[in-house]
Symmetry: C2
Subunit: 280 residues, 2 copies
């Protein structure tokens, strides 16, 4: 896969990493970046993540073969539609958003003929933000979920798959709704829980946190604005996951209240098996 | 500080690391280990964590200057008393248990004159277990909480402080009860929560976990038996911490249910400030 022009909308951690990787792997002859801040675009250019920066979408996508939207999830659908109307026929649009159903639905039927959007979510990232943390190897050996629908053209799906594989990703296909339910459990609920654990910690015990607390709450340092948008987009599935968690916490509470060590051991052992199965 | 004979009761991750560090730092001329399994003691001897292994406490402490109990928290008090009755006058006993109030109380008044016990908890460790994971640098730059009571002799407290500082630890003094309340929030509740998050994960989404889930649940791989004992010893404080967490989760739930993005952002921002204050 060689792309003549790759346009990255949103040159932060993910967009910057995508540009860097595209250049370093020789996947794109030219990488154009769209951002809100001139300084940030200039920085992205200096580190080699983009060749040229733009403050608006339209002039950056006129010759784009592939456009990847890497902005917060509440902006993606709008920008897909905006890019879709300004890019040439034959362009492929995709994104890196942590939620999929709302975005895919909002874009459906809004694009001109000849322009395809296929939702993607590379499971890569960090609690850090901005092109200063961009890393050309961020996507290597990561899983990218691609979320086609009944209307997705097979050729567009295959191009999307080839795109992510060219960055070193493994690819997994799911419906947007299945993606959102799964990610509620594997990412959004853990974020909510980490945030709750950090949020209730009184300052006088900060010094008594060790690696366990720091690991368990690391994601709570993530950007509140980005995460508020993710929760809003995946509200129902997150609420359902939260209910599951509350149920399990109630079981643990009962084991504590009843000093039922056998039950506590059973619950901890079941969870340990899950965690062990995931590897380090 | 040079110790003639240091006896470590329980030669697992912590006891093995203590023996290794004592030898490598030249803190003890002789390190004796007590364990239940001959193979494990022989392994500890081979890696240089102990000089000699014993299957029972009594013969291992007859000449001990310092005895450190590194067994699960539900065994520590009994072994402190057992060691205290067999060791010479002038010996210092301490431990590495993750809970303190129950242990300190159970030992109080049970030791012969001339033998002192001062509770300790080095905030070091991992979800791994056994001397195979022992690491001479495990205690370096870690915080050790020492939990004196009104009856603790100043000289014994100072020896305990000097002991942990010799391993490279910073030292913090707290009452056993304050320690247990603090650790409920910084360690025991995060463990419970990580376990709950891992426990509710259905196998079909295992593949969709990334670094966020893995960090957030890493401690859930810890030994269920050790943790059941910790929860049993610190039952009341863990229940109080769990109530705090449940309250915060209910606030997050309400923000989701009401689609109140401003409130969600406020809660996430407050937690991010806490997490940022802790550093990586």
């Amino acid at each position: 896969m060689t792309i003549q022009t790759l346009t990255v909308v949103g040159v932060g951690l993910l967009g910057g990493s995508l540009g860097l990787a595209a250049k370093q792997r020789g996947l794109a002859r030219r990488v154009l970046g769209v951002g809100r801040q001139r300084d940030s675009l200039e920085f992205a250019r200096e580190i080699g993540a983009i060749d040229e920066g733009f403050l608006t979408v339209e002039p950056a996508v006129g010759e784009a073969d592939v456009v990847v939207i890497c902005t917060p999830v509440d902006q993606i659908a709008r920008q897909v539609v905006e890019a879709g109307r300004a890019c040439p026929s034959g362009s492929l649009l995709t994104d890196v958003g942590s939620t999929k159903a709302g975005i895919v639905k909002a874009v459906d039927g809004q694009l001109p003929a000849g322009v395809a959007f296929v939702g993607s979510h590379p499971l890569a990232g960090s609690e850090k933000r901005g092109p200063g943390h961009a890393n050309a190897r961020l996507f290597e050996r990561r899983l990218t979920v691609i979320t086609p629908t009944a209307r997705t053209e097979p050729a567009a799906l295959e191009r999307t798959r080839a795109f992510w594989e060219a960055f070193g990703c493994r690819v997994h296909l799911m419906s947007p709704e299945d993606h959102d339910r799964a990610l509620a459990l594997t990412s959004h609920l853990p974020h909510l829980t980490a945030s709750a654990l950090a949020g209730i910690l009184p300052p006088e015990v900060f010094e008594l946190t060790a690696t366990g607390f720091r690991d368990t709450t690391r994601v709570a340092a993530g950007d509140p604005e980005l995460w508020t948008a993710i929760f809003a987009q995946n509200r129902q599935a997150v609420l359902e996951s939260l209910e599951l968690l509350e149920g399990r916490l109630a079981e643990l509470r009962r084991a504590l209240e009843n000093s039922d060590n056998a039950e506590m051991d059973r619950l901890l052992t079941q969870a340990k098996k899950v965690r062990d199965a995931l590897g380090s």
